[in-house]
Symmetry: C2
Subunit: 231 residues, 2 copies
């Protein structure tokens, strides 16, 4: 499992809705994907289902740790509860790698969803604090899981807002984002702007409930095709 | 100046770019607008300019206090620095009124813009704390001032995300928003989601710098015309 290490993508939390959806879309676009889960068998079952759905795409399942160890790119697609603990447990496997965080620190009460206070500022920055040698990029916060999992859903009109402090890593994630949606990825700026991108999902969930839809984000004022980090 | 009190709109900070732009668009749509400034003469001059630009629309100028006293709807369009102090100084004039906050608590350093920490959670909630009898609604955070001020700029493809805890007030602001942009306003949810809407502007400014544009927000997954708070 080390031959394609640099291009293989592990999805930690790969049996959750967001992780499954992103894994499915990445595999469908030709990437080799390893779904991770606390329970390896659950991940293997999910991988088999998605692989069949994606026409025999390369998706396997493993524990979160084994998945992270086997891949050069690790996508964190877990709930925020237990996030720090999980990232700490994977620190060695994440060291030196490209880590993509789509973690949304949200809570819910009788008034609906809201952004949680994160001492590091955001989940993405928390991961970067725990694994300083990893290159953390924030992305994919706003894509609705049921749409990711729907083979017919056209996501090309949604923008994937990508934040990070390393240009090359950001460009790589922007290319992956274009594979996921078939549309546009935008360089949103520094990693710390994950503080804005992550809890914006609370607004989308609130809108979804009010308008009975699955909303997403698009920015106005930009050319349709913007794939590179601008100079 | 009390005849049209309930429908007259005061713009506190009405000589700043956002305040001027919103005042211009509201007046052009037929609303009676009073621009407020610390310096009454500055507000009067700005009002005369905008009135001419808007074809003789009803725009006058006054001190922030006189503007707020003379209007039933007060739009706060001030920088966050000094916000609490200003709102406190206007508390009597704002009492019992509809207060619309488009205040964005942002700071800038060598890495660009970022959202500031606000102890009340957001500027909108801060205003609501200071003037508990006011009905505070958050809106208009994401419209670029130069586009608001450009008579030719079409803003109908941008969404105005409106948050608040009082449905009737929110509907009223959504109707004003439709007058400002000619497009769609969306009920984004509770007032506390201003914590997400306000600093999202940091992302837009970051994108503007990177892509040399004036970006705005649109949500995907919603019908083109949504003007009412949904049931």
């Amino acid at each position: 499992m080390t031959d394609n290490l640099s291009t293989r993508i592990a999805v930690v939390g790969g049996t959750g809705p967001q992780g499954r959806g992103l894994g499915y879309r990445l595999a469908r676009a030709g990437h080799e994907v390893v779904l991770g889960s606390r329970d390896a068998q659950r991940a293997i079952t999910a991988a088999e289902e998605l692989s069949a759905q994606a026409g025999g795409a390369r998706i396997t399942g493993a524990t979160n740790l084994a998945a992270a160890e086997s891949a050069g790119i690790v996508l964190l697609a877990v709930p925020y509860d237990g996030h720090a603990q999980l990232v700490t447990s994977l620190a060695q496997a994440l060291a030196g790698k490209l880590v993509i965080s789509c973690v949304n620190p949200l809570s819910f009460d009788r008034f609906g969803p809201y952004g949680r206070t994160v001492s590091a500022g955001s989940a993405a920055e928390e991961a970067a604090e725990i694994v300083p040698s990893a290159t953390v990029v924030g992305a994919f916060h706003h894509l609705a899981a049921p749409l990711l999992l729907d083979p017919e859903a056209d996501l090309s009109h949604e923008d994937v807002l990508v934040c990070g402090d390393a240009t090359a890593a950001k460009e790589r994630v922007m290319a992956l984002a274009a594979d996921v949606t078939g549309g546009r990825a935008l360089d949103a700026g520094r990693l710390r702007l994950a503080r804005q991108l992550e809890p914006l999902t609370a607004v989308l969930i609130s809108v979804n409930k009010r308008y009975r839809t699955r909303s997403g984000v698009a920015l106005t004022g930009l050319a349709p095709a913007v794939g590179k980090v601008p100079a």
